[in-house]
Amino acid sequence: MSHRVRLGLLIAVVMAVLAAATVAMASSSGNSAASPIKIGILSDCQGAFGAQYDADLGGAIAAFVQYAGAKAKDATDPSKGMTGGAVAGHPLQIVGFGCSNDNAQRAINETKRLVEQLGADILIGPLSGDEAVAVAHYAQQHPKKTFINGTAGSQDPTLQIAPKNFFRYNGDGAQWNAGIGDLLYHKLHWRKAAIIMDDYSFGWTSAAGIIADFCAVGGQIVKRVFPPLNTTDYSSYVRQLPAPNKVDGYFWVVGGTGTVASLKAMQQAYPGSVSKTKISGNLFLEVTGNFQQVAPLISGAYTGGFGTPGTDYKAPAALAYVAQQEKIWKSLPQLGAMNTANAYNGFYFNYYKAAWALVKGLTAVKGSITPSQVPLQQALGKVVLNTPFGTVKLDKNRQAIEGEWSYQVFAQPGKTQVSTVQYIPNVDQSFGGTFKHTSPPPGRTQPPCTKRSLPWVGKEKPVVNGVIK
């Protein structure tokens, strides 16, 4: 009998707890009178780009501080969030930060968490290319929400998928490399070159920009090599590249864990081939400044950019921007004191642009996102940002047309030194018609190497000692 009583008691207790939990959940989802604008910010806190987590959050929050009157909770840790901040009386509320790991599935998981669980109206993010492909598909399925890309550089989200509620205020991986082919053709007189690229979408996209640019002015790509991601020993891949006496140089598009490993293998396979006049590449090469024995070999090599100039760039607007950022953040976790390098960091700046554009869009619609976000989305399409690094506007696919920068990398003890070589104004996604909605997306064989006229060729402005000439 006692067991029976106890059993009954237990059932009652469990049921009561369940009922209480249900009630608590129901009440917590109640709405307050004011209508806040709920924002989710999606970045990577793990994986290859995990170190940039705080740069991403910091950039986005900085824009809210600067343009919407918010205040960072902790000037040394963006992930603590912000207080205040409003557009036309509607408070801005960051509902959460998404923490992905360079993995599309995780990005979707985190997007669902931010949008569906935490109720974000607007999502800023993601960070990396394949994540953006997945998030753009998600955006297509959720037309009532608005998505602003963080800093992902794959081409598909705005060229192929192109949902009406997905906006990108940064260049894609191909755009970032605009002008580099022209530079090498004319400055170093490269005519024939080979390219080695990571065998995945960002590697292809980034390489596509280099190939399109180099071939447009008359260069030839004689060989393309695709080492798989996470290769341990690159020796047999780099040896597929033609010998140094058969080509004028090599474009290097190997990132992740492979940049230094592949360059070391190259130096071993073709002694003397790793030099500043023989190697060029994309933003991956900038990190080589941190490495002994490779960095000095390519010190002085030209590379494509990441939408921002090098730290030697000293226009008054840029200096004012850095001063502003230093007021907002004392330091960023893992990245150190707020300084020019951190403010110019493409991760920081691209999230900054995304949040800034959002504030502008919201201002245009007076903070109204109910009952529909369509007016906001229309306003976002028209936003023009006059950034310290040039003007950014969107094309009809809601993709940025912006100025790009080429660099020279220099090895300096203990740090990466990038100096700015040229500014390429008004770079758009299409590369003079090379990339269109109907063309195959960048791949192992795409784009083919063809000569054509690019809108920016001949209009690049050299940058000397940090000043645009």
Binding site: T232, S236, K246, Q267, Q293, P296
Partner: protein, 372 residues
């Protein structure tokens, strides 16, 4: 008890089943033969412009281009050297303790990072020169890393594995948990790509000349170290008392215990040596390629593949496995047809797994594996 075939009858006819059973062997031999003939005689180099065919590879046949063939061969055996150093630690621990140390890759990466930090300290945050790295500025960090990682390994063994001895699966799970924690904490401290510098005497600009082939000293150095370590391990296992106990323990742990040997002490020694090899391998791998989040997973996988092919617990197996793995990986990347732009060398990782499956279909316990 691992399933073994029933005792074979003395007189047998070749039944259809037998033919089917021999099929993997026949297919493997046939595949090797075709690949060998292809590489040696058939292929032609890809023209610099225009498309190729199934016959065109990067270098052409070994007869046409013996230098590149020799380099590919050297690439394979030097890479095998590094694989052997790392995997021998893994196989030593498994052979004796039947414990699969799934944190082996994490120990590798940790060793690399420790050596990297120390070298940065010695060379004054990496003076970025080519010639200033003295021999001791690589060897001391590498040895300190090996010792430190051995300590971490010992700690893990004493805290978690000592009292779960004999529960293979549980031990594998414990080491997985440890590897998750280690990986996550390492990202915190070393978020970016790092790389050690070789000492200048084998550094990036020094090349050996062997019969007309110019070849990097640093890769030959790896092979040399691997041979030294291999011989040292062999002598240790064959000639010393501890080694004999370990070999006896591999065959019958209970009997060794019953004979009054302190088997726990032997386990600890095996774990220390195995972890130290991972740590030292990390210092070599960090100079050979790079250290970054995710490299731990690559090296766990590398070690697994090597010992699955070679047979777990066998030193000779680790050597054979390392060689086969490196051989297939390197040669498939170098000698798969490159017809046109889109094919086929990027598929070389798949061939590594084809090798794995072929070996397992022939010998479920690996080439040198023995039942427990």
């Amino acid at each position: 008890m691992v399933p073994t075939a029933l005792p074979r009858p003395a007189v047998r006819r070749l039944s259809a089943y037998d033919v089917l059973r021999r099929l993997p062997l026949v297919l493997t031999l046939l595949g090797l033969l075709v690949a060998g003939i292809y590489i040696l005689f058939v292929t032609t180099p890809l023209p610099l412009s225009g498309n190729g065919s199934w016959r065109t590879t990067t270098f052409g046949s070994a007869i046409d281009d013996p230098v590149d063939f020799a380099k590919t061969f050297l690439d394979a055996i030097t890479f095998a050297g590094l694989l052997f150093v790392v995997a021998s630690g893994f196989t030593l621990i498994f052979g004796l303790m039947r414990a699969v140390n799934m944190a082996h890759g994490s120990l590798f990466l940790l060793g690399g990072y420790i050596a990297f930090d120390l070298q940065q300290y010695f060379t004054n945050a990496g003076g970025f020169g080519l010639e200033q790295v003295d021999a001791w500025e690589w060897f001391v960090p590498a040895i300190v890393a090996a010792v430190a990682v051995a300590g971490v390994g010992l700690l893990m063994q004493q805290l978690f594995l000592r009292w779960t001895q004999g529960q293979e699966l549980r031990q594998a799970l414990i080491t997985i948990a440890v590897s998750i924690i280690l990986a996550d904490q390492m990202i915190q401290h070393w978020p970016l790509q790092d790389s050690l510098a070789w000492p200048s005497f084998i550094g990036p600009n020094n090349f050996a000349h062997i019969g007309g082939v110019e070849y990097a000293w640093s890769r030959l150095f790896i092979l040399g170290v691997a041979i030294v370590i291999g011989i040292a391990l062999y002598l240790w296992l064959q000639r010393t008392r501890t080694g004999m106990v370990i070999r006896a323990g591999v065959d019958d742990r209970n009997m060794v215990s019953a004979l009054g040997v302190n088997i726990q002490r032997t386990f600890a020694i095996a774990f220390v040596v195995g972890s130290a090899l991972a740590g030292f391998g990390g210092a070599m791998g960090g100079a050979f390629s790079s250290l970054a989040p995710g490299v731990d997973g690559q090296w766990l996988l590398n070690s697994l593949v090597v010992v699955i092919i070679g047979g777990m617990g066998s030193l000779g197996g680790a050597a054979a496995g390392a060689f086969l793995y490196a051989f297939v990986f390197t040669f498939s990347a170098a000698y798969l047809p490159t017809s046109g732009l889109d094919c086929c060398t990027e598929y070389s990782p798949i061939f590594t797994f084809v090798l794995l499956i072929a070996v397992l279909a022939l010998r479920p316990l690996g080439l040198f594996g023995r039942p427990a």
